[in-house]
Symmetry: C2
Amino acid sequence: MTNFDLYNPVNYVFGKGQIAKLSELVPNNVKILLTYGGGSIFKNGVYDQVKAALPTAEIIEFSGIEPNPRFETLMKAVQIIREQNIGFILAVGGGSVIDGTKFISAAVNYKGDEADILRKRILFKDVNEVVPFGTVLTLPATGSEMNSGAVVSIEATQEKLTLGGAALFPKFSIVDPTVIQSLPKRQLQNGVVDAFTHVMEQYLTYTHDALLQDRIAESILQTLIEIGPGVVENPTDYKLASNFVWSATMALNGLIQKGVPSDWATHMIGHELTALYEIDHARTLAIIGPNLYRVMFDSKKEKLAQYGQRVWNLTGASTEEIAEKAIEKTVEFLHTMGMKTKLSENAEAIEKTADIVVQRFEERGWLAMGERQNITLDKVREIVEMSY
Amino acid sequence: MTNFDLYNPVNYVFGKGQIAKLSELVPNNVKILLTYGGGSIFKNGVYDQVKAALPTAEIIEFSGIEPNPRFETLMKAVQIIREQNIGFILAVGGGSVIDGTKFISAAVNYKGDEADILRKRILFKDVNEVVPFGTVLTLPATGSEMNSGAVVSIEATQEKLTLGGAALFPKFSIVDPTVIQSLPKRQLQNGVVDAFTHVMEQYLTYTHDALLQDRIAESILQTLIEIGPGVVENPTDYKLASNFVWSATMALNGLIQKGVPSDWATHMIGHELTALYEIDHARTLAIIGPNLYRVMFDSKKEKLAQYGQRVWNLTGASTEEIAEKAIEKTVEFLHTMGMKTKLSENAEAIEKTADIVVQRFEERGWLAMGERQNITLDKVREIVEMSY
């Protein structure tokens, strides 16, 4: 087990009816910027619940944070905060709204070109430098409600980049599993697959000595496999909904990455597919993940076999056989979750994709990735081409 | 899954050589009270590491916090802090030193009879009311390094009582698994069994819908079973040591209790055995736990069977059969861990124990306990008598 620091000060408030607790959680002496996306919070009743919980608060609204939130959009909110003396941000939405809000929180007091926050991967450590914020989650998947990281795209240059730092944990996050009832099936499918892949990125590496972390990662995978197919059909089933939402948080709240290697190349490649073709984030992971396991088979086969045995109860004559079966089981699960695992099933005119992805990685100096830094650009090309 | 709030702001710093980070973690502008126990920190080198990390700090030492820390002892430290304008407490020790330090932290500014903190179960929510403290763990078992609860005994009345509240989380905890190398085998055995029973208290209740929490609890149990027998023989093996220490923290840092029922009657009864006979805390749990499962069999058999199947890979013709085997497996494991599971093997003149325990519970108005509040005083009597 490698050394680690575990610090996660988010006040995570989980369950039915918890949005009413906003009145205790939001500071009552400051102007609030309410950030949200395209208006789904009006349809699912969350906007009304938020307003009912904060009847006397001075709230300015900022809507229109898009899926894969854009730097250009978020900078408009930064301007509003700078001009209007706002002291707290309340993000109401899914991972995109929360990620976007983290960028807003960080950018308000940043001296210099705010795009550098993303391009230079500035870390925000001091809570006094950022604008405090809380969240009300409406779409589980990214774990953003309980971590300090975010992904933001720069539209002008089609870059999808990250930011983070200990100052960017939400002060609180309210997570009411009943909010998923009004989500389209496609978004529920995406949420399960996104959470599943988050665990795989931190787990499916090589065998190591961090026994408990492996078992906890397997616990989340098993739970998502158990409830995933059901929850997309019956999101009103509270048993399914609550386990889904809690698993999605636990998949990326930092716990399972402590003391272990992680991969994240599926995300790095997947982000490019979203930037190029606007394919839903989770669907890019379903396209890339299994092919990455195939191309990196020699490097990952021991862990694939452990995963196959413990998560899928597979048996076989050899490590290789169980590992291969484990990849096929994963693809089956992704299909069950409504994913189309070929790029050509998700976008058109894809023939130059591998060239473009490799070129972009080259331009950024990303010459190798993965838990062993052995996913070279040749391997990236092979993975993407196998995904056509 | 029941509603829950998960809030744990401890900065948990884990791994080899991490004690050196004290220089960054301890506030550098205040006088520090260094609390510890009987002097083992001199033998295991931790005292020297602490002093080396804080060469210029103004440190006042308070030693002699005993196992099952006593109110009477701790009040002496409270007096020192009140008299000497101390701004931070650094607890260096195991669960007893950390628990004791939590009481000290809470009592300094408490207006009134400090024993009421324990007897009236006062909750401390406001960090401004307590003296901030950090910890350096030297004996894993209680999880106290990453939770806000504590157990303190009042010697005068032989009471063992609890305190807690969100203000009583350590600011940081440094957990270096190599510190266990110098522990006596008996303490290592106690640590594994204490952590194991902490999980059981929060897990072995009834079957419910919190699927992920059950699986995480099972992960900790499996890890402790896997590494427990080895770590007491080879505490210098870092793989075993690191998984042991991290499992002990995860067993009682609050995570696995979220959204689920919990029992804790084994601890409540066990505390009385410690108060009466000074039996090591963990050893009282090993005496009581299995007999509690036997007496409450009808109430717990479904969960016992789940535990047997998932943790011990047991099979059987019926729920009852698997559940019974699961209890026997647990007893075998406790014996492997060096526990003597009969009260008469741990103390003398025990024949009135059940009467005394029941009488004490009656006096405190504790008439029923356990996850269903169906462990009545008659059941308590039966459990204790079965343990003779």
